[in-house]
Amino acid sequence: MKKQLDLLVNGDHYHLLVDPHVTLLHVLRNNIGLTGTKEGCGAGECGACTVLADGDPVNSCLMLAVQAEGKEIITIEGLAANGQLNPVQEAFVSHGAIQCGYCTPGMIMMAKSILDQNPDPSEDEIRSRLIGNLCRCTGYEKIVQAVRSLARPAEGRYQHE
């Protein structure tokens, strides 16, 4: 029995009819056509599918689409505005934190969440918070540098959007 669903993704409402067992990841990629979010394992083990739900990072392969109803979902497509990259995206590009790019959308969403929650994360904190996001290309060095470059020790709040 399919279920009617109203999803709020990147500020847009989507009215969908989906099987109750399908994941948020599946609906984002297949029903809405937001393929920026990647599936690396489908089991919550690699973090490639990380999106933000009410500001919290979640593995969208582990969240049912019906569980996402009523939450504000932000995906990688929701970060850049008017052709302008979000500072996290910008930092990943300029620091060489992107190689094959498959972990990148999830990694950037997790990085944004880290900075949203603490404007001045230490390197150790960044590494600890990124532990659920696997990258096989970079050795994480440049990813950590990219996130660290956005830390704002003096100003308090990290400026997002």
Partner: protein, 754 residues
């Protein structure tokens, strides 16, 4: 040569922006009208005869469009070096995961449900997993090869026995290198689209889009040119994304349904259907003089190939003799056996077979240094090859800065001081590597590359090459090379997508060849374009060519900055004058290499990179846990094209090496991979790695573009030995079996205390 404007400058990757926004399209992001979804049914048993496959219930499931078994395939044997592949197993399965049947359905759920409805009956056969056992008389035969031996590699130079007799020190040890999985984040996938003229268009994440057509054409019994490969973005490969039956199975489903088919592995299927690293039992014997010079090396390798042969033949050969051009070996003997086993078929993994042998060799070099009372770094200095060296196998090392790599790495790491500290539990270790930049025996018909550049109407340049970006930075390096030659910026260069209908036939991303061989073709094509532009500009401006130069998107007369023509103007004037033809530049690089002859003699690569790595570890003697706390990697990469990309590649290679050394190992339960997921098969996360410091040593190779050599694989090769040697320095134990798990560390520590 600091007058480069683009080469050598840190360049953010040209495709990074689209990857950062989610715009970059990977294979499974492609949705075509009418597309079906495929799934593969894999063998649940390691060895057995197929008695019956009943697909009738699956076919009756609404939404199922096709179920195929071997009888629906051309029933041809195909393969890479051995024709022991089938699209779908006809009568026998040889490993858990072998492809038996496939389904195409309207959606993935239906395709998965259909797999459950297919009934298989087998007569199970005794299985053999260990290669030494598989070679014994009476072992179950997997592919009817006597002794299950798929291939033997033998080479001998000089006289090892005599040299051992004359040696001051002779060491003999056994090493084991484990089976590890490449763990690219994007699982294997294909989208295959049948065209109305009978051709198949393929969207494939593959490292060899041109070459794979040779194999797939045979499998599908179609002409090579009827297969069109279009390259989406690739989510990493590390050697694994070569030929795989998944691709032609997708094509066959597409052909038989008349619809596009998307077929992708789940992560678990990818563990079971991929081609992990060839595990090796290495018996190594080496002789040394009292001063630490190598006198002889004898090696015997037995490698567990798995149920069918992928690239085991050149991987084994590489392990047997590639290191022979790192040190000045004169007396060597190698014998290698590639043995069929009822385990996963093994294939390319960054480093090919060299990683395995470098682990054994560099562990033994360290052991010898300690037994002789010589600084391990001095041992390397004493034995290292230098520019101009020709190995006993005829390998011509035109540029070599191994010696300098050792010097710079030891200086940067504070080697002498730290070695003198002798704090129990803390250690420092050194290991070196050599490698190739392209390898002739991999595809004997040709070894080079070609490229085509076109001056666009806006005065910018597009570069067409069939070489492949899989995250290593190929598009960026090629853009930099073209921009440097043409006096342009990287923003002025556009890489065209790889499409076999339009691109040059290129051999692809393996053997650390892309920048060196493919990049040199781009360099030559850019030079050709440049000379054509100059000739045309000379005609238009009525100025001798030698009075002209190119800069800032213009051709300008020397000394008269006002007299010149913008490339955009020149491009359109040429095009209008030539009835729509653009100005093209063509480049063809013949690396001048040889396929080694029957005696294994001949120079297989145009350039040889080198590296020296230093690992610092802390060993917890209570838990056996090893933590790498600092890492220095000095690389002779000839010339750094993009320092940002090069350091990224080194960091990634070291990370992968740390995983191989300390964490990763595929383990089997009755032939089935028991840890087919990232929860049980741990790859390094951000907390498992230290800061990795890259050091570039530029030997300026005479062949590579601007002197550049390969880097991708050498970044991984020495890591396991560097860590092993550091563990010895820390706690006095020699670990010769990968990975160095806490259990092994504790066991050896206990033994050492006795």
């Amino acid at each position: 040569m600091s007058d480069f404007k683009v080469v050598g400058k840190p360049q953010p990757f040209v495709d990074a922006r689209q990857k950062a926004t989610g715009d970059a399209v990977y294979t499974t992001d492609i949705h075509l009208p009418g597309m079906l979804y495929g799934k593969i049914l894999r063998s649940p048993i390691p060895h057995g005869r197929i008695l019956n496959i009943d697909t009738s219930r699956a076919l009756r499931l609404p939404g199922v469009k096709k179920v195929i078994t071997a009888r629906d395939t051309p029933m041809l044997c195909y393969g890479i070096t051995h024709e022991d592949w089938h699209l779908l197993a006809p009568d026998k399965v040889r490993f858990v995961g072998e492809e038996i049947a496939a389904v195409a359905a309207v959606d993935l759920d239906t395709a998965e449900e259909a797999l459950d409805l297919i009934k298989m009956e087998f007569e199970e056969l005794p299985a053999v997993y260990d290669p030494e056992e598989a070679m014994q008389p009476g072992a179950p035969l997997i592919n009817d090869a006597p002794g299950n031996i798929a291939h033997v590699f033998e080479v001998e130079r000089g006289n090892v026995e005599e040299a051992f007799g004359d040696s001051y020190l002779v060491l003999e040890e056994k090493y084991y290198t484990s089976q590890v999985y490449q763990s690219y984040l994007e699982p294997m996938a294909a989208v295959a689209k049948p065209e109305s003229d009978g051709r198949i268009s393929f969207y494939l994440p593959i490292q060899i889009p041109s070459k794979c057509r040779v194999t797939y054409a045979k499998a599908l019994d179609m002409p090579i040119d009827s297969l069109r490969i279009i390259q989406p973005h690739i989510g990493g490969g590390f050697g694994a994304k070569m030929e795989t039956p998944l691709h032609p199975i997708a094509a066959l489903l597409a052909k038989l349904t008349g619809k596009p088919v998307s077929l992708a592995n789940t992560r678990e299927e990818d563990f079971m259907g991929g081609n992990p690293r060839l595990p090796m039992n290495i018996q190594l014997k080496m002789g040394f003089t009292r001063e630490g010079l190598i006198t002889a090396k004898k090696v015997r390798i037995v490698a567990a190939n798995g149920g069918r042969v992928c690239y085991g033949v050149p991987i084994l050969g590489t392990a047997c003799f590639r290191v022979d051009s790192m040190y000045r070996f004169q007396n060597i003997k190698a014998e290698g056996y590639l043995v069929y086993t009822n385990t996963l078929p093994t294939g390319c993994f960054r480093g090919f077979g060299n990683s395995q042998m470098v682990f054994a060799l560099e562990s033994m070099m360290d052991q010898a240094a300690h037994q002789l009372g010589i600084d391990p770094a001095e041992m390397r200095h004493a034995n290292a090859v230098h520019s101009g060296y020709v190995s006993v196998h005829g390998w011509q090392v035109k540029s070599a800065a191994l010696d300098e790599c050792v010097g710079k790495a030891t200086d940067a790491a504070g080697w002498k001081k730290k070695r003198a500290e002798k704090i129990f539990g803390k250690g420092i270790g050194l290991a070196c590597t050599n490698h190739v930049s392209g390898y002739s025996a991999f595809f004997p018909p040709f070894h080079g590359s070609s490229a085509m550049l076109r001056l666009e109407l806006n005065g910018k340049v597009s570069v067409t090459s069939g070489e492949v970006e899989l995250g290593q930075g190929q598009k960026t390096a090629f853009s930099q090379i073209a921009a440097e030659v043409l006096g342009l910026t990287v923003e002025d260069v556009r890489m065209t997508p790889v499409d076999s209908d339009l691109s040059t036939f290129s051999l692809g991303a393996w053997a650390s060849r892309t920048t060196t061989v493919g990049g040199k073709a781009v360099y030559l094509a850019a030079a050709d374009l440049r000379s054509k532009i100059m000739a045309y500009a000379s005609m238009l401006l009525e100025v001798e060519e030698d009075q002209l130069f190119m800069a800032g998107g213009k051709v300008i007369q020397d000394g008269c900055p006002d007299k010149g023509i913008a490339l955009a103007d020149l491009a359109s004037r040429y095009l209008y004058q030539h009835n729509g033809s653009f100005i093209y530049g063509f480049g063809e690089f013949n690396p001048g290499t040889q396929v080694p002859d029957a005696e294994k003699y001949g120079n297989p690569s145009c350039a040889y990179p080198f590296a020296a790595h230093i690992a610092e570890v802390e060993v917890d003697t209570e838990t056996g846990q090893v933590q790498v706390v600092s890492y220095h990697a000095a690389h002779d990469l000839g010339r750094t094209i993009n320092p940002l990309g090069a350091s990224g590649q080194i960091e990634g290679g070291v990370a992968m090496g740390v995983g191989w050394a300390l964490m990763e190992d595929l383990f089997y339960d009755h032939g089935r991979v028991a840890n087919a997921g990232f929860l049980d098969y741990r790859v390094p996360g951000p907390k498992d790695l230290p800061e990795i410091k890259s050091i570039f040593v530029e030997s300026n190779d005479p062949y590579g573009p601007f002197g550049a050599k390969g880097l991708g694989e050498p970044a991984l090769n020495p890591v396991a030995a560097a860590i092993s040697n550091a563990i010895y320095d820390a706690v006095g134990i020699r670990l010769r079996e990968l990975p160095f798990t806490p259990e092994k560390v504790l066991t050896e520590l206990k033994k050492s205390k006795k």
